[in-house]
């Protein structure tokens, strides 16, 4: 269960969150669409406990331990190898050594990174680094995934594999929140859709049977007014 109650937060004169309330039970995947500067990142950071909102309250069942998080940057250490990075994060989540090793090997296989496990992260391309970032966020098998533009840099094959992975996780009753400015990226996975504009949810509803085209159309209408649609 993930819930947000009347979240408000400002950065100087910018209202990043302007009264957002919602909740998501297990097994739901929320695709959060919005133009740049709409406050999506702030919302995810509040849900992850990185930012304490000025007003309101957010809660994740299971607390920080249950959260898997992907931000704009990889949060990986360039001078450590892929495997060392992942083992480091596994240790912070108190995984026993043997389980941590097995889990890392499994994730690397899943993301097609096995042959790169012993390369330092800093030599990887943007796309490969993003795969490791995904593995980092999943290493402790989190109940709630908070993902900020997670498809950035992934090639088609990797993006497809990541979608399959997210689908499986949602099938196991986990919660996924996926923020993106590109409607096409997350729409098939989503059970729920939200449009965030200037710190508010202008739309929040189950996806129902709508396809990407319809939702894209609705999004453009909702954002409209020279906000720049899905671009920028």
């Amino acid at each position: 269960m993930l819930s947000a109650d009347n979240l408000r937060h400002t950065f100087g004169a910018v209202r990043a969150l302007d009264g957002i309330s919602f909740s998501l039970p297990g097994g739901r995947t929320l695709a959060l669409f919005g133009p740049n500067g709409a406050g999506k990142t702030t919302l995810l950071k509040v849900l992850a406990g990185l930012i304490k909102p000025e007003v309101g309250h957010a809660e994740v069942t299971g607390g920080r331990r249950a959260v898997g998080w992907i931000g704009h940057q990889s949060s990986l250490y360039g001078h450590l190898t892929v495997r060392e990075n992942l083992l480091f994060w596994a240790q912070l989540y108190d995984l026993p050594a043997a389980r941590a090793r097995a889990r890392v090997t499994e994730l690397l296989g899943r993301l097609g990174m096995t042959d790169r496990a012993d390369q330092p992260v800093r030599v990887l391309s943007r796309g490969l680094m993003q795969r490791v970032t995904i593995a980092r966020a999943l290493v402790h098998d989190p109940e709630v995934l908070l993902l900020d533009e997670p498809f950035t840099g992934l090639d088609l094959a990797a993006a497809g594999e990541f979608r399959r992975l997210l689908g499986e996780l949602a099938g196991q009753g986990r919660i996924v929140v996926l923020a993106t400015h590109n409607v096409d990226e997350g729409v098939e996975l989503a059970t729920d859709i939200a449009f965030q504009v200037r710190g508010r949810f202008v739309h929040f509803a189950p996806r129902a049977a709508r396809n990407a085209g319809e939702i894209g159309e609705a999004y453009r209408r909702a954002v409209g007014n020279g906000e720049g649609g899905g671009g920028g």
Partner: protein
Amino acid sequence: MLRHAWVIARKDLLLEFRSRTAFVSATVFAALVLTVFEFGRDPTAVATSDLAPSILWVTFTFAGMLALNRAFQLELENQALDALLVAPISRTSLYWAKLVANCIFVGVVEAIALPLFVLFFDVPVGGILLPLIGVIALATVGFIAVGTLFSAMVSRTRFAELMLPVLLLPFLVPPLIGAVQVTAQLLAGRPLSEGEGWLRLLAAYDVAFLTLATLLFPTTVNE
């Protein structure tokens, strides 16, 4: 909590061992400061033995400053700090992790600089090595305790590299004075017990600022 702190500290030291830039620069820097001191004095007017304790401590504190700047910088490389703060670890364990890593880092630099100092300035430390190491540890822990706290703050400000010395130097005065006095007494062949007042001051400083920094650190990283 201590386990998490050690996991992070070990990671920091491994990173340091891999890249080596900061470590090599700090060590070379220390050696250079020692050299500059040798030529920055008038050998006919000032005896080395009078100046030696000051030279040692100015070298240590300046080299320490380089180490401190690095501690939180490496968490900002790919915004690893954000993921650390999302992870279920206490803020306090993050502070202690950085404290331990900084102390080991600076300790190793000091361990290399001390023999150089002995070599360059021909200071006899044979009989006083143990008490000398004790004083070095006592003073180093104190300024690293404050420095670690401040480096967490300045890492997210503009002009971080310049800001840290400006904020930290006033805080180096008590440990620096104390350490220089006790070192001078030791080098002059006087017993450690003579510097008891200074040792108490150093210990009190360590306790006060370790406690204060542990309490205050969480407010510097929570959003």
